[in-house]
Amino acid sequence: MSDDQEEMIRDFLVESFENLDRMDQELMILEKEPNNMAVLNSVFRTIHTIKGTCGFFAFENLESLGHIGENLLDSLRAGKKKLTPEITNVLLKMSDAIRELLQLIESTGSSGDNQYEDLKFLLHHHNSTGSAEAAPAELTLEEQFAAIVAEREAMEQSQENLEEATEQRSEEVAVASTQPQEAVEPEVHESSEEHGADKGAAEAKTDRKSDANLEAQKAQESGGLQDSSIRVDVQLLDSLMNLVGELVLARNQLRQITSTSQDQTFQSTFQRLNIITTELQEGVMKTRMQPIASVWGKFPRVVRDVAQQCSKKVRLVMEGKETELDKTIIEAIKDPLVHIVRNAIDHGIELPANRKKAGKNEEGTLTLRAYHEGGYVMIEIQDDGGGLRIEKIKKKAVERGLISQEKANTMVDQEVFKLIFQPGFSTADQVTNLSGRGVGMDVVRINIEKIGGALEVDSEEGKGTKLKIRIPLTLAIVPALIVSCEEDAFAIPQVSLIELVRLDEERFDTDLENIKGATFYRLRGNLLPLVYLSEELRINMTRPQHRERKKGKARVINIVVVRADTQVFGLVVDDVHDTEEIVVKSLSKSIKGLGVYAGATIMGDGRVALILDVMNLAQRAQVINERVGAQEEENASVTSVSMTEEIPLLIVELGNNEPAAIPLDSVKRLEEFSASKVEFLNGRSVVQYRGGILDLIDLRTVHGYAGQGSSQDDDACQVIVLNDNNRQVGFMVRGIMDVVKHSIDTSRTASRHGSKGAAIIQDRIMDVLDLSMMAL
């Protein structure tokens, strides 16, 4: 096959796929408006074009299928037949069959042998029952083949012929047409009549010629529309994006130089260059943006088909079709979205009878919503079905061994919802044909996370389920904050950035907490775990000096508050520099494998800086999952899970090895005093504290344990200072053990005064103390 032909076939395929997609949508419209002539004509033209063009390429079965379909459509168009749901179904089947053939051509170069006899029969059947045509000239398949073969042998299949046909109105071969093609080609000359195979040949030829004329006509009619857009190879766009990226870098470097230059001409020329570069960058990014409608376009059909197969009634609402996404993102979410929609209809929306029983409208509603928020695209899929059944999910998960029964008992709803994304999970009693193609919800999640997105589920039993997908808009050029540790510079993508805090030494005491070797910063009342970049990267093996509180050195620590998924923590760096727009360049395998770097970039001054992977840092420092507490997000813009039932607890040892848990948010500070500092005042133990007096309550004895409270004078006491605005009370404990995030079982009757409930933490039962109450 010659290159030219290959290219023509490629073009044919691309156009045909697009046209088929559009035709599906049109068939949906026709179902609701059977008399919409404009749409019906458009459908007809689509089939006609495909059928005609594929005649050039020896795709016989495709052409013959198209021919029969075209006949039916023509009858519909001429008003000889009425569009019924059965006919719509058959036409949709034809569309699928054509798609199949096109895909076969795409992969193998030929359209194969499948003649789709059954389908053709159906199409023929729907067309011929009760039709009252005058001189029907329906050819048998054999005649059509013979015609096409003869035709092909007679004419050289080439583009020149097509053009020729377009230009010339008269033909050497006589043409006869008894087919009702009136709307198509009024200019065909009918010089003489011939019969049999010739008629077929002539017909095929007429089709082809009329095709060409049709194309020309169409081109003229919609001339405006065609001119305003151009097909561009995606690879070309990619290379343009790369070049623009390099231009941005070069501009950044130039900016550094201009900042020190006094030359006016230089400055103004640079300004111009700056503006042009920015606009060029925006423009090129836009070229790859497509409205999400291009993905949603096929959903009406999908919803219809799935609903039919499940015997359910579903209404589809789509909001925000014009929301734009980068092409690569669109490609990546296509399949996951289809799967989610299928799931929603298959498992979410109930059968009409059940819905009626539940007092709902028999027809379920599926809403697709897309919008921009922050630097993200949000896609919501909401159904008003039965919602996720918590107990059922829990049961299934325990059955599958995904979680233990105990865990199932203490799980929060949100955690249960997340279970559906575990591999191998399906509460469907049978994996149906639709939702079981090896594309489970876990694959959906993985595909979305691959492009940097995140998934969230919200559901209410009986009311419905909402799936929310958040995908970053960022591409290869991202704004980033440049920080440094010693002399090494690093870049932190702005999308992970929340805020910057600069802590002077004088506030170290008040705002920093040290719990079991981990440092926390009190950010507006919440404890933020701190991660020292120099330690994580082992740049400086000695602990940062401020932690040892060296006197005489004014120290400042810079905390970059970042977010990794739903976890917020503070990254401590030596210095914070500017925000720069950086071009992300990939790293070699050995460095990429380290995980902690997301890429590298060249900064304005020409130096190479490594881009930090915030998520990986969080995992390394074990800031994510388990270990540390008090992660509460200020903003609900990322509608994250608010773990109301699991709270951070400080585990302490009271006396005699007995552990107790204290809600961390009631702890103001942790102090240590030497026993000798404890004084007695009016029968109370007190200690001088921060210019005032701190009342002390000895938890080591309060709970009825043999008073080991009178320890030796040098013993240091661990004191937990209550977080209470009215007074200062400190609780003495034997030791501070750990900080965990756990839920409290408030159902257990408090075993002693001052207890909020109980918890089983690390296999030990302990009381959760209510310090405020105990302080009374």
Partner: protein, 151 residues
């Protein structure tokens, strides 16, 4: 490349010195040779990865040949030279002590890699040539590039 009388094309090898040993790489894969460049350290990377270099907008990984060979580090006052090579896996720069000449080598003068060459070197070598003044160890660029990946 001209052919000698026996019809065998000699190879052109770019040579460089590391320590007392002479190494070489086929000149066709050498993109350029430049002096020491400003390098950005990569914390946590294995010692063979000396850093990253910005070469006219291209970010290269600099591999220290001394580390690859297990030799002592270069003295502080002796800046390295960069041999930038293009491999299938990556574009990297090999750090060496000194650049020497490009030699036309007759393939008839290939020697077996002597037993005395340590195992770790042998894996990296493509071939060994006997020169008038000693041995030339020709490196296999892919294996050098992959060396850091496999750590």
């Amino acid at each position: 490349m001209s052919q000698n009388s026996q019809g065998i094309s000699p190879r052109q090898i770019a040579t460089f010195r590391v320590g007392s040993m002479l190494f070489g790489i086929d000149v066709s894969i050498v993109q350029e040779v430049i002096r020491a460049q400003r390098m950005t350290r990569v914390p946590l990377a294995p010692p063979v990865v000396k850093g990253l270099i910005n070469l006219r907008g291209q970010i290269l990984t600099a591999i220290e040949l001394r580390e690859v060979l297990g030799m002592d580090p270069r003295p502080e006052d002796q800046p390295p030279m960069n041999v930038v090579i293009q491999t299938d896996s990556d574009n990297i720069s090999i750090l060496v002590d000194r650049i020497e000449d490009v030699l036309d080598l007759d393939t008839t003068r290939i020697e077996e890699t002597p037993e005395t060459v340590e195992k770790c070197y042998r894996d990296l070598l493509d071939s060994v040539y006997k020169l008038d003044k000693g041995l030339l160890l020709v490196l296999n660029p892919e294996r050098v590039a992959k060396f850091s990946d496999e750590l």
